[in-house]
C-alpha cells in the first residue's frame, strides 16, 4: 500500500502534521505573542529572529501565521467533522433505505443546495458574532448537503452489490449490514473527500476572513493576514507572501492527500498512447517468409513490465494462415489469447510493454510499420470483432456514424455513398430494416444485433483477415449460433481468413479448421481441429476436453478435475508450465521446457505426449451447420 501513495503523499502528510502541531502548541513555542507590537523594527524582512519578518506594527509575522493556523485548521477540520458527522448518516440512510427516506432526504437536500450560502453565512455571523465556533458551525452546516450527496452516492454503489444481498440472505440484520458491509467500503472515499473538503473549507474561511467576516481582530487568521498585508505589498511583500505561501502549501497538502486516498478506490492508469516506449525484445532469427501465406506470425512475444515482475503474456507464438480458413485460439482466461490478438494488431496496452517477433501480412512485416502505415492496414485489411457487444460500440454515436466512419476515412466515400454502403452492409449481416437502424443508438439494439453491427463494421472495408476475440461469449446460445453461422458464411463469400479466439471448446470444435491451444502465454498444441480434438497429444488439451461437461455424458458424470490453477504469468515455473498440474509429469518436465514439435502439421509441447484417443463427438455433430 505504501508504494502506491508515492513521496508526495508523505511529504504532504508531514507538512499537515507540522502545521497542526505548530497550531496546537502555538502558546508553548518560544515565539513572541501574536499581538505584541514592536518586537522588532516594523516591516523588517525575514531574519534569524523573525523568520517571516515583521509587519507594519512590528509584530512577528511568524507568530501571527502560527496563531492564524489555529483558526484555519480549527475551522477546516472542525467544519468537515461537523458536516460529515451530520451528512454521512443521512447519506447512508438515503442510499441504503432508498424509497421514502431517500426521497425526503434528497428533497430537503435539494432545497438546502438552492439556499444562497452567502446569505446564510452572513446572517449567522452577523447574528451570533464572528467567533471561531460560529464560523466553524456555519461552514460545517453549509457543507452538509454536499456530504449527503457524496455519501449517498458511495452507499448506493455498494448497496447494490451482491455481497449486501448475500448478507441479507444470511439473515444479517440491517444495522449490522450497514456497519459491517457498507460503512467500511464507504469510509475510504469519505476519507478522501474529507481531506479535499478540508482544503475547500480552509479556503472558504480564508475568503470570509478576507472579507472581514471571519474571526475578528486581534485574533490573526490567514485570510485576514493576507488582506492586511495587501497594503504593504510594495514596501514589505513578505507580510503578504508568508501567510499566502503557508496557506497555499497547506491547502495543496490537503488536496494531495485527498487525491492519493481516492486513487486507492479506483486504480486507473494508462491512456491512448504509451507514455514510455519500452525497448523491443531481441528479434529471433526470424523464419523465412512463407510464400503464399496470408498471415504469418513468427515467434511473437509480448512482455509486460509490472511492479510484480515481467508478465510474459505472449511468449513465442508462431503460426501461418491462408485465405478461406479459420484458425481458432483456445485457452483459459489469462492464457494470453486476447493479448496475442492485440499484439498482432499493434494495439498493445499503453506503457511498459515490450514486443518481439514478426507479423507478416502477405510478406510485409507489420512490426516494422510506423503508426501511420499501420493505420492504413487496420480496418482496411485486418478487421476486428470483440467479445462484448455492449462495450464494443460507442454509446453516444449513432450506428450510422459508426458504420460509415471507416468507409469515409479509409475509402474516402461521400457521406451519401457511405450511408448507402452501410445500409447494404447491415443488411448483409442480417439486420432487419437497415435504413432505420442507421439512425439508432447502440443501447436501442439487442446484444445479438449489436454484435452484427460490429461485424458489419469490421467487414466494411473488405478485410483479408477477420480477428474475432470471443465474439459470442456474451451472447445466448441461440444467438451465438446465428452469429457464428454469419461469420462462417461471410468468410466463404469474401474469401477471408478468420482468427477465432474462444475459451469454449465446443465452439472451436464446430467452427475451426485449425486450432492453437495456449497455456501460460505459450502454444502448447497446434494442429488441424479434428486431429486435436480426436487425438490430443498434450496432457493439458486432453484434460481440458475431459473437464468440459458434454450433453452426451450421463447426468452426475464425474468430470475430469485439473487440480490447481494456471501459473502466475509473472512467475512461470521453469520447464513445462503445466507441470504442477500434470498427471504425467516426470523429472525432465521440471528441468527443461518441452519444444513445440510433432508429426506433420500436428504440433505439441510435451515430453511425454499422450497417445490415447479421447472419445470425440460423433462425426455427425461436426458436419452439420457448415
Amino acid at each position: 500500500m505504501r508504494r502506491r501513495f508515492g513521496a508526495g503523499f508523505w511529504i504532504a502528510t508531514a507538512w499537515i502534521s507540522l502545521v497542526v502541531a505548530a497550531a496546537a502548541l502555538a502558546d508553548l513555542l518560544p515565539i513572541p505573542g501574536y499581538d505584541e507590537t514592536l518586537v522588532g523594527p516594523p516591516r523588517s524582512g525575514p531574519s534569524a529572529e523573525h523568520p517571516f519578518g515583521t509587519d507594519g506594527l512590528g509584530r512577528d509575522v511568524f507568530s501571527r501565521v502560527v496563531h492564524g493556523a489555529r483558526v484555519s485548521l480549527g475551522v477546516g477540520i472542525g467544519a468537515v467533522v461537523l458536516g460529515l458527522g451530520l451528512g454521512a448518516p443521512l447519506g447512508v440512510l438515503a442510499g441504503y433505505r432508498k424509497g421514502f427516506a431517500d426521497a425526503v432526504i434528497m428533497a430537503v437536500n435539494d432545497i438546502a443546495l438552492a439556499f444562497p450560502s452567502l446569505v446564510f453565512a452572513l446572517a449567522v455571523v452577523a447574528f451570533a458574532g464572528a467567533s471561531l465556533r460560529n464560523v466553524l458551525i456555519v461552514l460545517g452546516v453549509l457543507g452538509i448537503p454536499a456530504w449527503v450527496r457524496l455519501i449517498r452516492g458511495a452507499t448506493l454503489s455498494f448497496a447494490e452489490r451482491e455481497f449486501v444481498l448475500a448478507a441479507r440472505v444470511l439473515g444479517v440484520r440491517d444495522r449490522r449490514i450497514l456497519w459491517r458491509d457498507i460503512m467500511p467500503n464507504v469510509a475510504v472515499p469519505a476519507a478522501s473527500y474529507a481531506f479535499i473538503g478540508m482544503a475547500v473549507v480552509i479556503v472558504a474561511e480564508g475568503s470570509l476572513a478576507f472579507l472581514g467576516l471571519s474571526v475578528q481582530a486581534p485574533t490573526p487568521t490567514w485570510g485576514g493576514l493576507i488582506n492586511e498585508g495587501r497594503t504593504l505589498m510594495e514596501t514589505a511583500p513578505h507580510v503578504v507572501l508568508a501567510p499566502s505561501i503557508v496557506m497555499f502549501l497547506t491547502v495543496l497538502s490537503f488536496n494531495l492527500v485527498g487525491d492519493r486516498l481516492r486513487a486507492l478506490t479506483d486504480v486507473r492508469q494508462s491512456g491512448l498512447e504509451p507514455a514510455r516506449q519500452s525497448a523491443p525484445l531481441p528479434a529471433g532469427p526470424g523464419a523465412e517468409p512463407v510464400t503464399g501465406a496470408l498471415l504469418q506470425v513468427d515467434d511473437l512475444r509480448t512482455h509486460i513490465h509490472t511492479p510484480r515482475g515481467t508478465v510474459k503474456a505472449v511468449d513465442g507464438v508462431s503460426f501461418t494462415l491462408e485465405r478461406g480458413r479459420t484458425l481458432a485460439i483456445v485457452g483459459e482466461s489469462g492464457s494470453g489469447k486476447s493479448m496475442l490478438i492485440r499484439t498482432i494488431l499493434g494495439l498493445l496496452p499503453a506503457a511498459d510493454v515490450s514486443r518481439g517477433g514478426h507479423v507478416r501480412l502477405e510478406g510485409d512485416d507489420l512490426t516494422r510499420f510506423t503508426p501511420e502505415e499501420m493505420r492504413q492496414v487496420l480496418g482496411r485489411r485486418l478487421g476486428t470483432v470483440f467479445q462484448d457487444p455492449m462495450t464494443a460500440l460507442n454509446p453516444v454515436r449513432t450506428i450510422g456514424t459508426q458504420v460509415t466512419e471507416p468507409l469515409r476515412v479509409h475509402l474516402g466515400m461521400s457521406r451519401k455513398r457511405a450511408r448507402e454502403e452501410a445500409a447494404r452492409l447491415l443488411a448483409s449481416v442480417g439486420i432487419p430494416d437497415p435504413a432505420r437502424t442507421l439512425g439508432r443508438y447502440p443501447h436501442q439494439l439487442s446484444g445479438g444485433m449489436r454484435q452484427r453491427v460490429t461485424i458489419a463494421m469490421a467487414l466494411s472495408c473488405g478485410p483479408d483477415v477477420l480477428f474475432a476475440d470471443e465474439p459470442t461469449t456474451a451472447l445466448d446460445v441461440t444467438i451465438q449460433d446465428q452469429v457464428l453461422r454469419l461469420i462462417h458464411r461471410l468468410r466463404e463469400e469474401r474469401d477471408m481468413a478468420v482468427v477465432l479466439v474462444s475459451h469454449d471448446l465446443s465452439v472451436v470444435r464446430q467452427w475451426a479448421d485449425e486450432v492453437i491451444v495456449m497455456y501460460a502465454g505459450k502454444v502448447v498444441e497446434h494442429g488441424p481441429a479434428e486431429q486435436v480434438f480426436a487425438r490430443p497429444r498434450m496432457p493439458y488439451t486432453e484434460a481440458l476436453l475431459q473437464a468440459a461437461p458434454r450433453l452426451t455424458d450421463p447426468s452426475h458424470h464425474r468430470l475430469r478435475v485439473i487440480p490447481g490453477r494456471p501459473p502466475d504469468l509473472a512467475d512461470v515455473p521453469p520447464g513445462c508450465p503445466f507441470r504442477p498440474r500434470c498427471a504425467y509429469a516426470q523429472d525432465r518436465c521440471g528441468a527443461e521446457a518441452p519444444p513445440l514439435t510433432g508429426d506433420h502439421d500436428h504440433l505439441y509441447a510435451c515430453w511425454h505426449p499422450t497417445g490415447s484417443a479421447v472419445a470425440g463427438a460423433p462425426e455427425g455433430a461436426e458436419s452439420h451447420g457448415r
Binding site: 451482491e162 444481498l165 449490522r176 467500511p184 446460445v477 465446443s506 464446430q510 481440458l544 464425474r558 490453477r565
Partner: protein, 325 residues
C-alpha cells in the same frame, strides 16, 4: 411454455420446497411493467437437484431471488416444509433465511472486498449463534486453507477460490436448500469442473437439496436430476435430465439443444428450429410466449396459452400445443 399450470407438481407432503404460480414483476418506468416471471411452479424433494435453464432475461435469477424473498414475489407461494415464506414478515422471515441459502454468479462482487475471507464465512454463525457448523471444517471441505482464509481478503483469491468462499458461507449455516444462481458461469472450464465436483461432494456430505441455475445445458445436465426449461418468464418443459436431453418435447428445448455447438445430438441445425430474438418482457406475446420464434407456431398458439401437461408417460411435462412426442 410458454405456459402455465401446476399439473407437474407432486403432493405437498412428498416435497421439501414447493413453488406455486410465482409472479415477479419490476416497474419499467413510464407506468410499464417488466413481467420477469409469470406463473412458474416447481417442487423439490429432499436431496434432489433441480436445474433451471433458459436464455438471459428469461427470469432465472428473478425466480431464484423470489425464492429467498429478496424481493418478495408479486404473487404465488414458496413453501418450505409446508411453511409459506411469502406470508412471513420481519423476524419470522429472517429466522427461516438460514434454511435457504444462495450462491451468486459473480464470485468477486458477492464478497465484501474489505473483509477477510474467514470473517465472511463466519458472519452467518456470528449472527445465528450456536447451531452452525464449524467454520474451519467447512473451509476445509470447500478446499480452502483456514489459516490463509483468516488473513486474506477476497481480491487476493482467484475467481474459483472466491466461489468456494461463497459456497462455504452458504454451507456453514447447514441450510436445507441451496440456490445456486449461475455459480460457474464466470469460471473457466477447468475451474468449473472443480466447482461442479465440489458441489456434488458437498451435496452428498451435507445432504443438500439444490436449485441449480445456468444457461449452459451441458452443465445443468451434469448436476441435475430434473431440468426446468424457462422462456420469457414461463415454463416450457420439465423432465428428468436424461429424458429431457434425449427426447426434448418442446420446440424451444429442441432449439436450445441444437444451438449448442458440437453437442453430439442428432438434431437439425438450430437456424431451422428458432429464428429471431426474444421479445421484450415488458410486452410479451399473447398466448404462447415462444410463438414469435417458433417454427411450428399456429393460430391457436397466439390465442390460447398452452397448459403444462404430462407427455411420454412418466414424469415428463411440457407446455406446448404441438409438442414433439
Amino acid at each position: 411454455m410458454a405456459g402455465s399450470g401446476t399439473a407437474h407438481l407432486r403432493p405437498r407432503d412428498e416435497v421439501l420446497l414447493q413453488v406455486e404460480n410465482l409472479y415477479v414483476e419490476f416497474p419499467a418506468g413510464r407506468g410499464r411493467t417488466v413481467r420477469a416471471v409469470s406463473g412458474v411452479s416447481f417442487d423439490l424433494a429432499k436431496g434432489e437437484t433441480l436445474g433451471i435453464v433458459g436464455e438471459s432475461g428469461c427470469g432465472k435469477s428473478s425466480t431464484a431471488r423470489a425464492l429467498i424473498q429478496l424481493p418478495r414475489p408479486r404473487a404465488g407461494s414458496v413453501r418450505l416444509d409446508g411453511l409459506d415464506l411469502t406470508s412471513l414478515r420481519g423476524e419470522a422471515l429472517r429466522r427461516v433465511r438460514r434454511r435457504l441459502q444462495m450462491i451468486f454468479q459473480d464470485p468477486i462482487s458477492s464478497l465484501n472486498p474489505r473483509r477477510r475471507v474467514r470473517e465472511i464465512v463466519e458472519e452467518g454463525p456470528k449472527v445465528w449463534g450456536r447451531g452452525a457448523l464449524d467454520v474451519d471444517e467447512v473451509l476445509e471441505a470447500v478446499g480452502l486453507d483456514p489459516a490463509t482464509a483468516a488473513v486474506r481478503r477476497p481480491h487476493e483469491f482467484s475467481g474459483g477460490q472466491c466461489q468456494r468462499v461463497s459456497i462455504a458461507r452458504a454451507l456453514v449455516l447447514e441450510p436445507e436448500v441451496v440456490i445456486c444462481d449461475e455459480p460457474v458461469s464466470a469460471l473457466d472450464v477447468s475451474v468449473q469442473a472443480q466447482i461442479l465436483a465440489l458441489l456434488e461432494d458437498l451435496k452428498e456430505r451435507y445432504r443438500l437439496t439444490l436449485v441449480f441455475i445456468a444457461h449452459d445445458l451441458a452443465v445443468v445436465k451434469n448436476v441435475s436430476d430434473r431440468i426446468l426449461v424457462m422462456y420469457l418468464g414461463k415454463t416450457c418443459e420439465l423432465a428428468p435430465s436424461e429424458d429431457l436431453i434425449a427426447r426434448p418435447a418442446h420446440p424451444y428445448t429442441k432449439a436450445l439443444l441444437a444451438a449448442i455447438p458440437g453437442s453430439g445430438l442428432d438434431l437439425p441445425p438450430a437456424d431451422r428450429l428458432i429464428s429471431g430474438e426474444p421479445p421484450s418482457p415488458v410486452d410479451p406475446p399473447s398466448g404462447c410466449r415462444f410463438r414469435t420464434r417458433c417454427p411450428r407456431a399456429a393460430e391457436r398458439c397466439a390465442r390460447e396459452e398452452p397448459e403444462i401437461r404430462p407427455v411420454n408417460g412418466g414424469d415428463h411435462y411440457v407446455a406446448c400445443h404441438f409438442p414433439d412426442l
